[in-house]
C-alpha cells in the first residue's frame, strides 16, 4: 500500500520585487484586477517534476544541499502549501515536525501551550489530557510546565515541541532537520521514538543533513538537487552518490580558493613571505596533491591514499638536503610529520630540476580540513625553502570518529554480547 504518492509535482515560487509590488498595488486599485496582477514575472522552481512513492510502514529519507527543495517537499506533503502542478496523495493522518513549537505563545504557560499546540496538530482536548503527563515527562519539563514559555531555554522549547508533535500519534510522520538542535541526551531519545514508530509500521518522511543517521534509519532515500530528483534507491548508494557530488563541488571551491590565494599572494608579497622562507638555494617550485591513481584532488575519503608531489630545482651542486612534509589539522595540531633525514635517507647530490613524491598509502585521518607544510632544508635545520601551511586538503566521510588520526582497528566481541554490526556494502 502506498502512503505518500508524489506524482510529477512542481512548485514554482514567485519573486516579487519592491517595485513590482508597488505597481500591482496601484493597478489593483485602479483597474481592479487584483488576482491577475498578483502573478509575478520572475519565478523560481523549488521543485521540478518530482515523482516518488513511499510504501506504508517505510522510512523514506530526503537528502540534498540547502535550497534543493527538501523543506518545500515536506510542506507540500503536509498540505501547508499546494503544488503548482502535479498531484500529491497522502493516506492517513500526518504530523509534521517542521519547526518544533511553531505555535507556542511566549506569554502563556507550557501547560496551556501544550493544549493549543496539540489541538493545532489535530489532537482532541481529551486526548491531550490523557497524554499530558507523558508529554511533559518525555520533555523532562515537570518542574517548569507552569512557567511561561518565554522563560524556557531554546532546548526546553524544542523538547516540548518535539514531545507534543511525537505524541500526536500520526500515521505519517514528517521530520525536517529537527534533531539538529537537541542535546546529547535528548537526540538518542528522539531517535528511539522514531525507531518505535518504525516498529509500529508507521510511515516516516525524514529530511536531514545527517547522512549517517539517514543511512541508518531509512529504507529508501531520494536525493534532490535544485528541485530535481537525482536518484532514488538504497540509502548507501544514494548517500554515496550525493557525497561524490558534494566532494566534486568542494573540489571546485578548493581549487578556486587556491587560485584566489595565489592571486592574492602575488599582490601581497609580504603575507606570502610570512608563510614561506628560506633563500631558495633549492626551490620548491610546485606542489600537487594527487590520489593514488594520479588524479589531482583536494577532497579525500579517510581510506584513500595521497601522493604529495613537489617539483624542485637546485641552482648549484648541493649535498646536504632534507625533504620533509607536515600535516596539521585546522586547530594547528601536528597530525603527522616526517622527513628524509628522520627516515635515514643519505643525501648525496641535487642539481637542476627534479621531482619528489611522498606516497601515503592510506590517509587514516578523521573528517576535517588539513594544512600541509612542505620543506627542503639542511640536516641542521637551515631552510632552503620552507612552505608553511600553503597547501590544504579536505577529508570527508559519513563516519564521525574523532581525534587526530584514525588508528586502523576492528572490533571483536565474545559470543555473549549481542551487538549488531553496522550495515556495510
Amino acid at each position: 500500500m502506498v502512503a505518500i504518492d508524489v506524482d510529477g509535482v512542481s512548485r514554482i515560487y514567485q519573486k516579487y520585487s519592491a517595485r513590482h509590488r508597488f505597481s500591482t498595488f496601484k493597478s489593483a486599485l485602479v483597474r481592479g484586477d487584483l488576482f491577475r496582477t498578483l502573478r509575478a514575472d520572475e519565478v523560481v522552481a523549488a521543485l521540478d517534476d518530482v515523482t516518488f512513492k513511499v510504501e506504508k510502514g517505510r522510512t523514506f529519507g530526503v537528502i540534498g544541499e540547502n535550497g534543493s527543495g527538501k523543506s518545500t517537499l515536506l510542506k507540500l506533503v503536509a498540505g501547508i502549501s499546494k503544488p503548482t502542478s502535479g498531484r500529491i496523495a497522502v493516506e492517513g493522518k500526518v504530523s509534521a515536525l517542521i519547526e518544533l513549537g511553531a505555535g507556542f505563545h511566549p506569554e502563556i504557560s507550557g501547560r496551556e501551550n501544550v493544549f493549543i499546540n496539540g489541538i493545532m496538530l489535530g489532537l482532541s482536548k481529551k486526548e491531550i489530557q490523557q497524554k499530558f503527563d507523558e508529554i511533559v515527562r518525555f520533555a523532562e519539563l515537570e518542574d517548569f510546565i507552569d512557567a511561561p514559555v518565554k522563560t524556557y531555554s531554546s532546548g526546553m522549547y524544542m523538547r516540548l515541541g518535539f514531545s507534543v508533535a511525537i505524541n500526536v500519534n500520526p500515521d505519517i510522520l514528517l521530520i525536517d532537520e529537527v534533531l539538529a538542535v537537541g542535546d546529547a541526551a535528548f537526540i538518542p531519545k528522539c531517535l528511539d521514538r522514531i525507531d518505535d514508530f518504525r516498529r509500529r509500521k508507521k510511515t516516516i518522511l525524514f529530511v536531514s543533513h545527517d547522512l549517517s543517521t539517514v543511512e541508518k534509519v531509512c529504507d529508501r532515500v531520494v536525493w534532490l538537487k535544485s528541485g530535481k530528483v537525482m536518484t532514488i534507491g538504497e540509502p548507501k548508494r544514494v548517500v554515496d552518490a550525493y557525497l561524490q557530488d558534494v566532494a566534486a563541488k568542494q573540489e571546485q571551491s578548493f581549487a578556486r580558493a587556491r587560485e584566489e590565494r595565489q592571486a592574492a599572494a602575488q599582490t601581497f608579497e609580504e603575507e606570502r613571505r610570512e608563510n614561506r622562507w628560506g633563500l631558495r638555494e633549492v626551490e620548491i617550485k610546485r606542489v600537487t596533491l594527487r590520489n593514488l591513481a594520479g588524479q589531482e584532488k583536494h577532497v579525500y575519503a579517510p581510506d584513500e591514499g595521497m601522493v604529495i608531489e613537489f617539483e624542485v630545482e637546485s641552482y648549484s651542486k648541493i649535498n646536504d638536503f632534507v625533504f620533509g612534509i607536515g600535516v596539521f589539522n585546522s586547530q594547528g595540531i601536528s597530525c603527522y610529520g616526517t622527513n628524509t633525514s628522520l627516515e635515514e635517507f643519505e643525501p648525496r647530490l641535487i642539481q637542476g630540476q627534479g621531482r619528489v613524491a611522498c606516497r601515503i598509502e592510506r590517509l587514516n585521518l578523521v573528517n576535517g580540513t588539513y594544512y600541509l607544510d612542505v620543506a627542503v632544508h639542511k640536516k641542521d635545520g637551515y631552510p632552503y625553502d620552507y612552505h608553511r601551511n600553503l597547501y590544504s586538503f579536505l577529508v570527508t566521510s559519513t563516519l564521525k570518529d574523532v581525534g587526530v588520526a584514525r588508528l586502523p582497528h576492528h572490533w571483536e566481541f565474545s559470543p555473549g554480547i549481542d551487538i549488531k554490526a553496522p550495515r556495510k556494502e
Binding site: 509590488r21 498595488f25 489593483a28 498578483l38 499546494k82 511553531a102 493544549f115 511561561p148
Partner: protein, 271 residues
C-alpha cells in the same frame, strides 16, 4: 458551495478557536498585577474621564441627548464600547496573519481561524466592559427597559459585519502592507462618520439632508444606533434598518471570505 464547506471546516476547529481566544485574553494581561481587573478598570476610568470632561468642563447640552450634561458622557460611552470592539478588531486583523506567519508556514490549519479569533477576543473584551456601562445607566438616572434584551441581535449584526471586514482586510494586507497604515487613518474618519459623539437626532443634521443621507449609508451608524436604543433610550431597536445592515453585512462577509479563500494559497509564502 465552497463558502459552506469553509464554514464547516471552521466549525470543526471551534475548540482551537476557543483556546486561542482564551490564550489571547490571558496573554493580554499576563504579567500585570491586576490581571483581568483591567478589563473593568479601563472602561471605568474612561467613563470617569468622560464624565468629568463633558459633564463638568465642556457641558454640552442638546435636546437630542438629554437635559442633564451628565447624560452626554453615558451616551458617548454607549457608542465608544462597541466602536472599540470594531476598530481594534480591524486594526489587529490587518496584522494577524503576519504576526502568526510562523503558524501559517509550519502548521496545517485554516488560516481564517486567526481573524475569527481576533474578532471574538475583542468581542469578549467588549462584554467585559458592559458591566461598567450597566452600572452607570442607573447612576446617571436612566432606567432599564425590556428592550435591552434585544442587545444580542445588535451584537450579532456587528459580529458578522466586523468579521467580514476583518477577513477582507487580513487577506489583502498580506499582499499590500500599506493597508495597515491606510486603515488607521480610515478608522479615525470612520469614527467621526458614525453617530458616537453626536446624535442623528440633532437639529443641525435635520437641516443638512445630504450629510444625514451619507451617515445613513454607513452600516456602523445603524449598529451604534441599535446600542443607543438598547442602553440609552430604552426603545425598540431600529429593526428595519438593522435588518438591511445585516443583509449588507452578510454580503460583505461572503465577499470578504471569498477574497480570503482565493488568496489563501499565497499566505505561506507571503507572510
Amino acid at each position: 458551495m465552497t463558502l459552506v464547506d469553509n464554514l464547516r471546516t471552521v466549525w470543526r476547529y471551534r475548540v482551537l478557536i476557543q483556546n486561542l481566544v482564551s490564550r489571547e485574553l490571558k496573554a493580554r494581561y499576563r504579567g500585570t498585577i491586576l490581571g483581568f481587573l483591567w478589563s473593568f478598570l479601563n472602561p471605568l476610568l474612561l467613563m470617569i474621564v468622560y464624565t468629568v470632561v463633558f459633564g463638568l468642563i465642556l457641558n454640552p447640552r442638546d435636546e437630542a441627548i438629554g437635559a442633564t450634561p451628565w447624560l452626554y458622557s453615558l451616551y458617548m460611552f454607549c457608542g465608544i464600547l462597541p466602536w472599540t470592539w470594531f476598530s481594534s478588531s480591524l486594526l489587529e486583523s490587518a496584522n494577524v496573519l503576519m504576526i502568526n506567519g510562523n503558524l501559517i508556514k509550519k502548521i496545517l490549519f485554516p488560516a481564517e481561524v486567526l481573524p475569527v479569533v481576533t474578532v471574538t477576543a475583542n468581542l469578549i473584551h467588549f462584554f467585559l466592559g458592559l458591566p461598567i456601562l450597566l452600572l452607570f445607566i442607573p447612576i446617571m438616572g436612566k432606567t432599564f427597559t425590556p428592550y435591552i434584551l434585544l442587545l444580542p441581535l445588535v451584537v450579532l449584526v456587528q459580529y458578522v459585519f466586523t468579521l467580514g471586514f476583518s477577513l477582507l482586510i487580513s487577506a489583502l494586507t498580506v499582499h499590500f502592507r500599506d493597508i495597515k497604515d491606510i486603515l488607521s487613518n480610515v478608522m479615525i474618519f470612520w469614527f467621526f462618520s458614525t453617530p458616537i459623539i453626536y446624535s442623528l437626532k440633532m437639529e443641525v443634521l435635520q437641516r443638512f439632508k445630504i450629510v444625514k443621507l451619507l451617515l445613513n449609508l454607513n452600516p456602523m451608524t445603524h449598529i451604534i444606533e441599535g446600542y443607543h436604543a438598547c442602553f440609552f433610550y430604552g426603545s425598540l431597536i431600529p429593526w428595519k434598518r438593522l435588518s438591511v445592515t445585516l443583509i449588507v453585512s452578510l454580503v460583505l462577509f461572503a465577499f470578504g471570505y471569498t477574497v480570503f479563500d482565493r488568496l489563501r494559497d499565497s499566505f505561506p509564502e507571503e507572510v
